[in-house]
Amino acid sequence: MEQALGVHRLQFAFTITFHYIFPQLTMGLALLLVYLKTKALRTGDEHYNRAARFWARIFGINFAVGVVTGIPMEFQFGTNWAAFSRSAGSVIGQTLAMEGVFSFFLESSFLGLFLFGEKKLGRIGHWWAGFLVWLGSWLSGYLIVATNAWMQHPTAYRLGAQGEIELASFWGLVLNRWVLWEYAHTMLGAVQTGCFVMAAVGAFYLLTKRDASYGRTFVKGGVLVGVAAALLQVYPTGDNQGKLVTDNQPVTLAAMEGLFQTQSSAPIVIIGQPSVRERKLDNPIAVPGALSFLTYRRWAAVVRGLDAFPQDQWPDMIPLLYYSYHLMVGLGTIFIAIMLAAAVQLWRGKLYESKAMLWILMLSVPLPYIANTAGWFTAELGRQPWVIYGLMRTAHGVSPRVGSGNAWFTLIGFMGMYAVLAILWLFLIYREIENGPEPESGLVSKPAIGVAAD
């Protein structure tokens, strides 16, 4: 069974990591599409509508892959984590079912109208369709994060006669104190992905000297929204998320920071490799006292290390957790630097000619994906060894009858299937970028998006 546990975990980790590549761009782009549609309405400039149509095509491809890779996520709660579902389904099933009922219907209905019904809906109607797609996708994010927040910080439940977990308060579940900051932090991460992608395509057009007017719009939109998101990502959302971990999962904090010994004036380690066997960090480069200050606002405060907790409560993959967390924080800092530098250049009116800055924006595009992935690794590995923090161990949550061989078979099946999907997705996105937006003339407009491919 132990062996099967590892495979079940790997399959969920793999499928969710791959899946989240797509929603983070959809949620970020949804906001930017509303930005473009609003600009079009307010300025009356058809340029912004054409720009929105271009991004809507990319959104559509991305959304389709997000949908087909999303269905397996819900199914796997039952197929691979039956014992967990049996105990906790009446609580987390609530938020998952609400996601289907409230947000997926909204999102899929209005995306159909947004992509295929611009002429029928008119200018105002089309803006509303875009707005409702944004609302649906962000509501979906909320309900998923609320599900995760309950697993991180279970509240609003009671134990039934046979030890099953029953919902005790609906509002306690959807307004769990863990949700607000986790949601804000997650959404800002998605917005950063959207901004970096939009800015990178714009930079590509400016550097290759084509579609320059669109290039400027994309770079400007990506940088303006991106600089705000990058700053808010760290403060207040990241900071408050950290406080929640400090207060409720102190052992997770110790593992994330690689703090093996309880100490006062605890340092923050910028670089260093955790060695769990020797219970120390190899080759650390540290800022003394900084961890104490950031967690308790006092330089001399005592921070509990891993030694303060029994070892069976430790997260079971400390080095991976530690690296993920440090990667996320490091990249978040770099994003502020990039976006601030670009914003300054924009303000000085030099961004569109600054080759170096445009190169940086173009090449940064994988980084927000890595940061978002590392962030979720931090949340999920940090919760271990629990599937519901303090309530149910991950090892007790797997399906009792699904052996490791079957799980290996389906894991490898998913890997193959997703490799094909990834190639198709990259190919189609590349084609959209290569085909580019409609020409600016306004007289000869491409009639149908499909005609461009004919």
Binding site: E74, T79, A97, L121, E166, V402, T410
Partner: protein, 350 residues
């Protein structure tokens, strides 16, 4: 409260079958009715704006099942592990085929996705039918409340059953034929010219197959699942469900003859709804019958705590009214026959 949720989950599954049923059916008949590229694009355009919304009903029904009957969700989904994973892969391939086909025009690219679309649709129809057959026949649950079913064993209805045996295969074939008829009626209604005529003829021919298989499967089901007969004698009014299905079948034939395309499609909806309602009525109060009746999961043993179910009724009702509103808006916006030549922005060929 348990019975209410039993009916609500059944309602969501029924809506899923009616809606995704026509786009799965359109896929299953894709290569049979649409020969030219234009015709194939018309078939795809007829489902393009709605297919993923239809699939949302599957996700929403799954989520609702999850929170209302967590024990059933856990046992059923882990017990049907392999076939469910295959369903997921088929859904992925089919979604990719619908969305990616029209991005490139080539004599290699298009037929590849067309075949994949058709093949995955056929297999999904058979799988869904076989899944329903498994539920009606019962699964090898034991005292732990779990089971794990292999894909097949000896194809007999013993105690050691597989996903596929002669009974579930029969139900699978019935599901395929019923979806083909349903999809053909949809394509007939949404397209025009030779394609519409061809789909109408196919619907008429498939009707005979559906008729024969429905009679056969119904007769066999009374032997396979004794609960059906028991429920009918306890609550004789339950006969309205099979009568609805019969009326639907009659309606399809009559409206096809009268050339009322819309009414024919609606009659097919009535047939499917009647068949599903009959199953749901027939196995009540079980949610997952076991081969050994001692271990069957019932509404009482599988349902969630009563507070959650009560709260759920409130938000579910609000949510479904909203969803019905959006769906109506979408279907009205794309009402009428698809026309691919008017250069309108979109269709599926983006």
């Amino acid at each position: 409260m348990g019975t209410i949720w039993y009916c609500l989950v059944a309602f969501m599954i029924a809506v899923y079958v009616l809606l995704d049923g026509f786009d799965l059916g359109a896929g299953a008949i894709h290569l049979l009715v649409a020969k030219t590229d234009l015709e194939r694009r018309q078939v795809l355009a007829s489902i393009g704006p709605v297919w993923d919304g239809n699939e949302v009903w599957l996700i929403a029904a799954g989520g609702t099942l999850y929170f209302a009957f967590p024990v059933l969700y856990a046992s059923g989904f882990s017990g049907f592990y392999l076939p469910l994973m295959m369903v997921l892969w088929l859904l992925i391939l089919r979604g990719a085929a619908i969305e990616f086909r029209n991005h490139i025009k080539s004599n290699v690219w298009d037929p590849f996705w067309d075949s994949l679309f058709a093949g995955s649709s056929v297999l999904l129809a058979v799988f869904f039918g076989a899944a329903l057959g498994n539920v009606v026949r019962g699964v090898p649950l034991d005292e732990s409340g779990y089971f794990f079913e292999p894909l097949w064993t000896n194809f007999r209805l013993g105690d050691v059953t597989g996903i596929l045996d002669w009974y579930t295969i029969l139900v699978g074939i019935l599901a395929l034929l019923a979806f083909m008829m349903h999809g053909a009626l949809w394509v007939q209604m949404k397209t025009s010219g030779a394609l519409s005529d061809c789909a109408g003829r196919l619907a008429g021919n498939t009707w005979w197959g559906v008729l024969v298989m429905t009679a056969l499967v119904t007769a066999v089901t009374f032997r396979v699942q004794p609960q059906v007969k028991a429920n009918l004698s306890t609550w004789p009014w339950g006969v309205i469900f099979p009568l609805l299905a019969v009326a639907g079948m009659g309606g399809v034939r009559y409206e096809l003859f009268k050339r009322h395309e819309r009414s024919a499609f609606l009659a097919s909806c009535a047939y499917l709804a009647g068949m599903l309602a009959s199953v749901v009525f027939g196995i009540y109060p079980m949610v997952l019958p076991a081969r050994n009746p001692l271990y069957s999961l019932t509404i009482g043993s599988a349902k969630a705590g009563s507070y959650g179910l009560k709260v759920g009724v409130v938000w579910w009702t609000i949510g479904i009214i909203l969803a019905a509103g959006y769906s109506t808006l979408v279907y009205r916006s794309f009402a009428g026959k698809v026309a691919l030549s008017d250069g309108q922005y979109g269709h599926t060929d983006d």
